[in-house]
């Protein structure tokens, strides 16, 4: 998580935030008219960018996704829901680069591209997880403030994000990765190892992120659709006879969301920067 704040020291990373946000917003805006749940989500092929920019530009891609989504809201849908749209989209770009290193052993090639079967599989898995985490935050908040039921929004955002990421992401990554690397714009080439958090409990962080991300979605849908009704009501969370939604979702999802935050601190990123340094042959001096 440290690098999400230390990255602001680098002018190149600040510029990458602005450019990522502008590209994301520029592609989001023309599709505002193709609504799935009007005012909340639409068909979003632009959602491929948070995954790709997250992997290539690291924290700059994550901030770019958050700001880009906010700017997209500036073109007609700015409201209180934009707050967690910002948070959800931040995680959509944040998780890909944080999780990437957890799937590769030290010394193994961990360049963020999809030129091998393993890397493609990791990319798809991470895309699904990041999509679910993004949906968890946005749908949880919108349900909590009574805007849209979790069951309606959670599944749509997950599928919408994941489809864009899985279908378009590998193509875009294959096109952009060699160029970005050649221009020295990979986040692992701009940031120094001491500016990036070290992976202390990476496997645990990996596990907690999956439990938090997928768990929140499954439990939220189960409560929202009333499947979890009886057992949850017995636990004393359900506020009404119906038991579905409302405070039940607001409370039940909190532990899962907390797991996502905890996992964000446990997962590293420094190993990717060190691997890039080893590949370059010497530590960078700036």
């Amino acid at each position: 998580m440290k690098e999400a704040f230390t990255m602001w020291r680098h002018t190149q990373m600040v510029v990458l935030v602005a450019l990522s946000a502008a590209i994301y917003a520029a592609v989001l805006i023309p599709f505002k008219g193709f609504a799935i749940i009007p005012g909340f989500t639409e068909i979003r092929p632009a959602n491929v960018f948070p995954f790709v920019f997250g992997l290539l530009f690291g924290p700059a891609g994550a901030w770019g996704a958050a700001i880009g989504n906010l700017i997209g809201d500036f073109f007609g849908t700015l409201g209180i829901g934009s707050i967690f749209g910002f948070v959800g989209n931040f995680f959509l770009g944040f998780i890909p680069y944080k999780m990437w290193g957890a799937f590769f052993r030290r010394g193994e090639n961990m360049e963020p591209t999809v030129n091998t079967g393993k890397k493609l599989a990791v990319y798809i898995a991470i895309s699904i997880l990041a999509s679910a985490v993004c949906a968890d935050w946005i749908a949880w908040f919108n349900d909590l403030i009574g805007f849209v039921p979790f069951a309606a929004l959670g599944s749509i955002i997950t599928v919408n994000n994941a489809v864009a990421g899985i279908v378009l992401g590998p193509i875009l990554l294959l096109v952009l990765y060699p160029r970005v690397k050649r221009w020295g714009l990979l986040w692992t080439e701009i940031m120094r190892p001491d500016e990036v958090s070290a992976a202390r409990f990476q496997t645990l962080g990996n596990l907690l992120m999956w439990v938090g991300g997928i768990g929140a979605l499954v439990v939220g849908l189960a409560i929202g659709l009333g499947i979890y009704d009886q057992g949850f009501a017995a636990a004393g969370f359900a506020p009404t006879a119906g038991g579905a939604g409302g405070a039940a979702i607001g409370l039940a999802l909190l532990p899962f969301l907390a797991l996502i935050v905890v996992a964000s601190f446990l997962l590293g990123g420094r190993e990717q920067v060190e691997a890039a340094e080893e590949e370059a042959g010497a530590p960078r001096v700036r």
Binding site: Q12, V14, L19, A22, P45, I71, T77, G81, V148, G246
Partner: protein, 259 residues
């Protein structure tokens, strides 16, 4: 067409400090969240519309009316299905659930219209400087304002490439949505690549002009909160206090509704 909502008018609201407008925006969000009764939401809706009329920014409603109508319809439908009440209306739908849906639809539309008024009366530079003045780190505010400025440039570049290809006979208009995305994607790649490629030149240009050289920086745009801002904030505080008093007195709720 200008993609931004800002309207260059000389009104009382335009002349307010951006920080005042940010506070009013947050205040409007609080106000609309106090009530779940559609009648009370209508009053809040009327207050926001009157403010928009004073700002002469309601013309922008023409650009977002479709979103507002669709948000309203979808919200009423969704809450009629997912919420419940005590008074049967038709089939499995209860009266209280529909009323709640109407109240939430108004609430969402109010927040969107309040956001629209803010953006119609506040320039991008004012938003960025206002963010810095309320404590947001400069580099973060800079990224937002730069991104805002670049969006039309990127869109225009994409459009130019599309027009150039169309003039050579490429058909981008026919086919369904998926087919159109497939046709347009290869055209967009050069836009993304050239935009990302400019990062290093952009960074060097910024640093050569002293970006980040000093923790304290000066601004061409000077903001100051004057008597006008104080008066508006005071009036809004009175309105908010009255609304809070009403709510605590038990008004503005919805009997018989449950989620």
């Amino acid at each position: 067409m200008d993609p931004f909502l800002y309207l260059d008018r000389d009104t009382f609201v335009h002349r307010l400090d951006p920080r005042t407008k940010m506070l009013l925006l947050v205040g409007a969000f609080v106000l609309t969240f106090l009530f779940v009764n559609p009648l009370y939401q209508l009053v809040v809706f009327a207050v926001v519309i009157v403010f928009g009329a004073i700002a002469r920014s309601l013309v922008n409603l023409k650009r977002i009316w479709f979103i507002l109508v669709m948000v309203g319809l979808m919200t009423v439908i969704l809450w009629s299905i997912f919420a419940s009440g005590e008074t049967p209306l038709f089939w499995f739908v209860e009266r209280e659930a529909v009323l709640y849906g109407v109240a939430i639809a108004l609430r969402i539309d109010i927040t969107i219209i309040a956001g629209m008024i803010f953006l119609s009366t506040t320039r991008n530079e004012e938003i960025a400087t206002g963010l810095v003045r309320i404590g947001i780190p400069y580099r973060f505010a800079f990224a937002i304002s730069t991104a805002l400025r670049l969006v039309p440039t990127i869109a225009a570049t994409g459009s130019t490439i599309g027009q150039a290809q169309r003039s050579r006979g490429l058909d981008l208009e026919s086919g369904n949505l998926i087919q159109r995305i497939r046709k347009n994607t290869p055209l967009l790649i050069p836009v993304f690549v050239s935009t990302i490629r400019s990062t290093n030149v952009f960074s060097m240009a910024l640093e050569s002009k002293g970006f980040g050289a000093s923790p304290e920086r000066t601004y061409f745009l000077q903001l100051s909160m004057g008597r006008r801002d104080a008066l508006v904030l005071l009036m809004f505080a009175v309105l908010l206090a009255a609304a809070l008093a009403l709510r605590f007195a038990g008004y503005g709720g919805l009997e018989g509704f449950s989620r």
